[in-house]
Symmetry: C2
Subunit: 301 residues, 2 copies
Amino acid sequence: MQRAAGPSSPSCSSTSDCFPLSHRSAARCGSESPAEPEKHEVRADHSPTDLSRMRSIVSFYICYLLCLGLGLACVVCVSYWNHRWRGGFAWDGTALQFNWHPVLMVTGLIVLYGNGAVLYRVPLTWGQNKLPWKLLHATLMLLALVLSIVGLCAVFDFHNAKNTPNLYSLHSWIGIAATALFAIQWVVGMAGFLLPCSPISLRKLLKPVHVWLGGSILWLSIAACISGINEKLFFVLKGNGNGTQSYANLPAEAVLGNSLGVLIVAFGLVVLKILSTLNWQRPESRPEDMAYAPLLQEENE
Amino acid sequence: MQRAAGPSSPSCSSTSDCFPLSHRSAARCGSESPAEPEKHEVRADHSPTDLSRMRSIVSFYICYLLCLGLGLACVVCVSYWNHRWRGGFAWDGTALQFNWHPVLMVTGLIVLYGNGAVLYRVPLTWGQNKLPWKLLHATLMLLALVLSIVGLCAVFDFHNAKNTPNLYSLHSWIGIAATALFAIQWVVGMAGFLLPCSPISLRKLLKPVHVWLGGSILWLSIAACISGINEKLFFVLKGNGNGTQSYANLPAEAVLGNSLGVLIVAFGLVVLKILSTLNWQRPESRPEDMAYAPLLQEENE
């Protein structure tokens, strides 16, 4: 780990500047941690301020491990479902091509997207030039977007081969909206935050929209996945003599599909918890010490 | 309107204390609004600080009107769908009883819930004793919870009358989880924030969890609604000779149902935008000037 926000951080001029907002307000409000919150000179001792920071970092990594574990579980679960119960994968216009759709959407639009979103929260990335992490964030998101688009191609090809109309269900409306917003978000984010010519005022204007839309796209994607899994299970578990039991009887495949939905929701909750916790924000992007600077000079927006 | 946060507010000791975080950081970063952000004495002039505050309040009310309008549109749309296309309402174990389910869930778990969540953001409620607004928040949420529970009873009764199993689909798992979390959130919120005996340290601990879980419950409810509408439209629009067209042909009912889903998502996006915008937080609950005090003395947690 390079550096956590704290008194020794070069980007922080004082203990209170370096300390997360919620700690400051908690201390002001008489919390159980009497961290001398009103002192503005640099502290030399290592407790209880350091202890509190360490607790915050440890609790972040527990949450982050949960995020990684749940993400992996989602990918394994959706792959196993389609491999074991839906016949596996192909790219031939049959149902085997359709099977790529849930795997690629869950992997791209949920798991890779969520991991790309929380990247800046990892303390390991703090205290270094932000540019490489920005490029990694953009690359992870681009990979997520490409997987999602290939996942959409899988279902469009399958529908076209069967002469089934595209984009009629609410699931498809929400899913295509999530992917379209994601594509717009990526292009605008790239132009606004990575191109050296983008003005600081534009970045300042974009950032809150980028953050809010980022979280909203994840929830839209989750809603699309939940409705898609639900629809698929009703489609395939009819219990009308095609060798399958009815969904209503909750056969093993139904339990697996429902569990995938629960895992996706749990993953989303953890990602949104990480994103919404002020203590875990990359230090220089916290409101009290955030400063904008052109790209390739000081990476702070 | 009673009072907006500003230099004249008794809860704010200075311009910068009263001013939203994002304004402060924006000004520090050289925004287009040169609002002398570092001055800590009370200002007597009315621009550009007052102009900026006024802009913030006006943009809040535009967003709030959008929230009210979208909420009303959701209730009208779900009621019209079930009245016009599904035969109306009854409480007799038939499909007419089921029709109460979408109407009550959308009205309770989405629209009333969302409006209860953004209540503290309305500037009209600022600068007064918080207790009446807390009671209104708790009452709105209780009403939302009761409507949701009656909505669940409608579908359980309908299933029982038809000997259909309950709680097998992913839609039902997500929906019941959202309602259960909502009930827990209400009880814990009531005990933690409204009972005079609850200690300040407990309130401090509860608040971030209450806020994060509050937003998460809304998104879970939206995912449940989207999957429910999608499932219902596939159930009823089979196009197999029962007098209806197939969902795939997008008849009028399908367009109405899909539009309801889009309205619900738009409502959720606006509510989450209102909740996540720091400028629009009730002044004394902003991190920099939040102070905890026992209930019935000073209502600040």
